[in-house]
Symmetry: C2
């Protein structure tokens, strides 16, 4: 074992010769060999790391997973999985985020940098035992010391590098469905948003826009003049976001297929010939995204669509999902033939149905193909969790080639830590279940702890039918997620914000308008999180260590100033909220009507009507709002509104930039530092403008601890 000091309080322990994942960006320096602190290592058949938990220890992290923000009591497996039924017992979803934080008697973080299968038993089998089982003996183990959850997370975010930054318009509302199948239908969606006067920035193209599901093609029948169509839709105020799937259709004369074959860019089977799996296009090959050259090749293919004016994409099916392989199907058919003329007993019957149920995403298949990593063949199973990551990296690197300083929207279904530098993720094929609103809420801070800031769930739920109330309540939460997208599956009830009764449409319009009005705050907080390598969503424990804050699983901190407590239960019109300190409650019905109420520290049960969105502004904090517009580019920031809750002094930094380029990295951004100081019965407002050329005036609603509201306006 070799040991490295990566940064102050972060050590790396190298077991064997691990495959490089590029999850970590800091190299550190080698130090004297020492045993990892905290963990007991059992090196037998598997590699096991064990930790004895104290009764009150909590365990955080693990990114995209089931269960609570506190993961104690659960079993999880890091193995990117295309599983569309996210019941509470699922051990793997689409992402593999092997970072966890033990918070209790001792406090430390653990990151298992190994891209194959890793199991986490967090007090499931034995209430007091944390056990991590790794399928391999080649890995990097990182141990992170820190005095608090926040400190440990911040150190981890430092070593994994800064988050992806999407264009600013990607913070607008986005509308998706599997699928808006042709130009006419897309046009109809755009027109509905206009007709109902609901803000929206983009409309998605799911798999049916392609010619036979072939990547980087567009159906000529359904989108006869795609380039002009993209332009027309953009003129109406919307960007189109096409999907790109991992598998490349096997079809002669299809250029991507031909080039891939010619250059040996596809994953291969044991015999060296390209591996065949079946996904949406039928039989496909998988581009070998672990092969640098293949990645470069595939990434540049996005130009086919960017040349048509496309500025954003979502990468799907990149676990990679496999519907079936020849192996599977012929085994199943063989089984049918064998049993055909027998009197099937009940166990044979179950074997038979299992044969078919087990066709998709089968372990045997994942073990039967290989990647070319710098000339070395590596079995897929060993690096499974890097596949979607490197597909998205391919895209991001491609965009750099295509237009080096332009920000593109890109997010992925499968992911691994490190991919957060290249793109965002959405949380995959959830359901129109109330339980999935809460799961969405719990996942967001966990994802943030693992580096994934640009993220969100399919609002309203992907599978199954949603009713108006579910879509309203979910939208009232999602308005705070950086990726804010309504999406639903083929065959389900339509759930666009205009799909319901007029009262619901009115509520949804106001909800989405609040998002746009809050965009200055949301974008500022997002960009500060990126730049300071911090989180955007946090559990209360990040800021408050009191007994109740430690356990809150249904309230979140959003940026530095806000706490939210959404409704996530059907027919609920009130909920319990824990306030770890005094906060200013604004139940937003319409963002330009401010009814502000000071709430004491303590437990509250708060009425929240179907059209109300409760915002809690923290003490000595403020939020900044503009007005809504029908898309992000039309937002204007001439006049801004500040709502502040001031005991003695509050300071806020309002960040802005061009929203389109990476110039901010070279300092091309503005900051307005707003400082409100209470002096006697009045407030001294100090505004320090670093380069913002848009804002001309700021209107203040300053509330003191007794609820007195002082209104002020300041010219900039």
């Amino acid at each position: 074992m070799r040991v490295y000091e990566i940064m102050d309080g972060v050590k790396k322990y190298r077991f064997g010769s691990p495959i490089s994942t590029d999850a970590i960006v800091l190299e550190g320096y080698e130090i004297d060999n020492e045993k990892p602190r905290y963990l007991t290592i059992e090196n037998n058949k598997d590699l096991k790391l064990k930790y004895k938990m104290a009764v009150k220890d909590q365990v955080f992290g693990l990114g995209e997973n089931q269960k609570g923000i506190n993961k104690r009591g659960g079993v999880f497996e890091a193995y990117c999985s295309d599983d569309a039924v996210h019941t509470p017992d699922k051990k793997s979803l689409y992402g593999a985020h092997n970072f966890l934080i033990i918070h209790g008697a001792q406090k430390f973080g653990v990151f298992i940098d190994y891209p194959g299968r890793v199991k986490f038993d967090i007090g499931f089998t034995h209430r007091d035992e944390l056990e991590i089982i790794i399928d391999d003996k080649n890995l990097d183990l990182y141990i992170i010391d820190g005095d608090s959850l926040r400190e440990i997370v911040n150190k981890f975010l430092k070593i994994i590098g800064k988050s992806y930054v999407p264009p600013k318009w990607a913070f607008g509302f986005q509308q998706c469905r599997w699928s808006y199948v042709d130009a006419e239908e897309v046009e109809g969606v755009a027109d509905s948003f206009i007709k109902y006067d609901i803000p929206c920035d983009s409309i998605y193209l799911d798999i049916d826009y392609m010619e036979d599901f072939k990547d980087f093609t567009v159906s000529k029948e359904r989108f006869p003049d795609f380039k002009n169509f993209v332009k027309g839709i953009k003129n109406k105020g919307f960007r189109l976001i096409p999907i790109i799937d991992a598998g490349v259709k096997i079809e002669e004369d299809y250029d991507i297929y031909e080039e891939g074959i010619e250059n040996e860019y596809f994953c291969v089977g044991k015999d060296g010939s390209p591996f065949v799996a079946a996904v949406w296009p039928g039989k496909v090959h998988f581009p070998d995204f672990l092969n640098k050259d293949a990645r470069k090749w595939f990434g540049y293919k996005y130009k086919v669509l960017t040349d048509c004016g496309i500025e954003g994409f979502w990468n799907d099916m990149n676990e990679p999902a496999i519907f079936y392989t020849e192996r599977g199907i012929s085994e199943a058919i063989g089984f049918v033939e064998k049993s055909k003329n027998k009197n099937l007993n009940i166990y044979s019957f179950f074997q038979l149905t299992d044969c078919f149920e087990g066709l998709s995403n089968n372990d045997k298949d994942y073990k039967s193909f290989y990647h070319n990593m710098n000339g070395k063949l590596v079995n897929h199973d060993r690096i499974h969790n890097l596949y979607g990551y490197n597909m998205t990296r391919a895209a991001a690197e491609g965009f750099k080639e295509i237009d080096s300083n332009k920000r593109f929207l890109i997010f992925s279904r499968a992911s691994y830590v490190g991919m957060h530098r290249y793109g965002g993720i959405w949380t995959g094929d959830n359901h129109s279940w109330w339980e999935h609103i809460l799961l969405n809420m719990k996942m967001m801070p966990s994802l943030n702890m693992c580096g994934f800031l640009y993220s969100g769930a399919d609002t309203g739920g992907f599978s199954g039918d949603a009713n108006a109330q579910l879509v309203i309540r979910w939208t009232q939460f999602s308005l705070f997620t950086p990726l804010f997208r309504n999406h639903s599956a083929m065959g389900t009830r339509k759930q666009e914000p205009y799909a319901f009764d007029i009262e619901s449409v009115d509520i949804l319009r106001e909800t989405i308008r609040l998002r746009y009005a809050l965009l200055p705050y949301i974008y500022s907080e997002y960009m500060k999180a990126v730049r300071e390598q911090d989180v955007y969503f946090a559990p209360l424990l990040f800021e408050y260590e009191d007994k109740y804050s430690k356990h809150v699983e249904n309230q979140l901190l959003v940026g530095g100033s806000l706490m939210i407590a959404p409704i996530y239960e059907e027919n609920a019109l009130a909920r319990h909220v824990w306030l770890p300190e005094e906060m200013l409650l604004w139940k937003v019905v319409s963002y330009d009507e401010r009814v502000l109420e000071v709430m004491d520290r303590g437990h509250h049960f708060i009425d929240i009507d179907i059209n109300e969105i409760p915002l809690f502004i923290r003490k000595n904090k403020m939020i900044i709002l503009g007005n809504h517009a029908n898309n992000v580019e039309k937002l204007e920031t001439l006049e801004m509104n500040i709502v502040a809750f001031v005991d003695n002094r509050a300071t806020y930094t309002y960040y802005d930039d061009d929203g389109m380029t990476y110039d901010f990295k070279q300092g091309a951004y503005s900051e307005i530092i707003i400082d409100i100081e209470k002096i006697d019965e009045d407030y001294k407002i100090n505004i320090h403008n670093n380069g913002n050329k848009h804002v001309k005036k700021m209107n203040f609603d300053i509330v003191d601890m007794s609820g007195n509201i002082t209104k002020k306006s300041v010219k900039i």
Copy 2:
């Protein structure tokens, strides 16, 4: 349409010539034709009943179903379904309970007495529209008027007749698993309960006790001397409860099969020959429980097992579940053969897997067999929801033949209103999901409203693996359910109360002991609910009509004196509780240690440690406790303990009977009426004993509104 007045405020509207379900026991008398109140009737292709809901209307009832106690926002289908994955979107579970109550601007109940498919859209499609769609034009519609939820429910309980009463020992803790396969394993379970000193009354035999899953057989290999074995286990303190499945194995010389064929007791296909389906035994015929003679024949078969000393049964697979039929399997195989040499495109692939996924419980199969109802052939689909009902009725009628005055334990998976008079139900194959504790809590009052009092869920969850915490928290709720059974599936982690670490075992032991100590209260309240045709579990709204009580979905009233507020979230150590009035809180760690605290009306956030069970005793109410014993028959009631919360006066009726027979129906029961009156600073206790010969002494802990505790003892 003919109209009947059934009782005051209850009218029946007869459409066409409905099949008699025997759901309702009162006939009433015919009155002048009139339109049903409240509902609009659309009589087109289907029969549709519609109601325009006011914004604040709530809808209760529907028994065994997903979603909240308030069903508004949901879509449901009454069609008994063997579906083992109870996700929130499932429209049908195992029971069909077509009674619902609209509570709001207007208040009324609706019962759709039709045993085929009925759909309920309760504001799902349109927020303000209740729509009931019936598959047929022959049905009885009942409309029930009342001024409150309780009044409407009580009237319904009156017209459907009194609930089944199990033997008293069936209120003890029960242990099940699929399966304790042989005598040795069952013995081991019994010995473990003894070793760990955990009370338990019965141990279950799931399908593997039989010879090849043949009803009314016992494997000679695994239980070589069954009769003696039953006796031996009973001597240790446990009763054995075998399962009976609906399907009868097709096997020559198997007497049940032969007799069924000979007497034409099986359901038939279109051609008149017995219908063949495959379930656990492989190919089976379904006894025609709608045929009176077949019912009588099958019911008397239980004697095979009662002759061995068996005193309780559970009827399973009686929706009836169908794994597959020849039709389905040959269609699926045909599809495989057709597609074998074709290049499967992706839609054909999904068709292929759908073929196999759709084999079980297929509508086509349910439509392809018939019942002989008094000589008339009736398609199964029309009476589907009566099948499990009449299987259980067969058993109950059989028991009457076998031993007319003895109470047997009998409960069923499938059910329909009316079956509650013959047996209980359990809520089927749930999962070891935290969400299913809450679902269990919400289902109990809904089931009670539909008449099903003896009921409970598989504690700890049937499918999937449970951890210790889940089993503890679930048991802390289930201890209040009349049917209190821990059950889990083959292949899952063991979850008996002794299966975990010693701390967990200690907690579970105390939890189960509390059940036994509370049994005098639980049994009294159950029997009073039966006799007074009332509920045992109720939502708060039954007693409190304030704004918050109307919406509480996670607290329940248990009998007349108690409110409970269980923990149902992983790692939670506290929860919100709404108190509609002052209550006395006793957080039970051990039932013989009383720490009593008066809680004010209002919202509370209450710490509840893993070993604590909060009981809330209502104002001017009391509970009665004995001590634990290792089974119900060993409980002695010489000395009883009363915990009372008295503002001015509290009265309680402690009911008891022999627990074994139906003599209580002839007045052979005792009541002790306890009256506590506060007079100045003291209490006057009046005890009126109607026939109880066991209780000799009562110890009182009387708490006043200030929390002062007065201890008293009274000799009887």
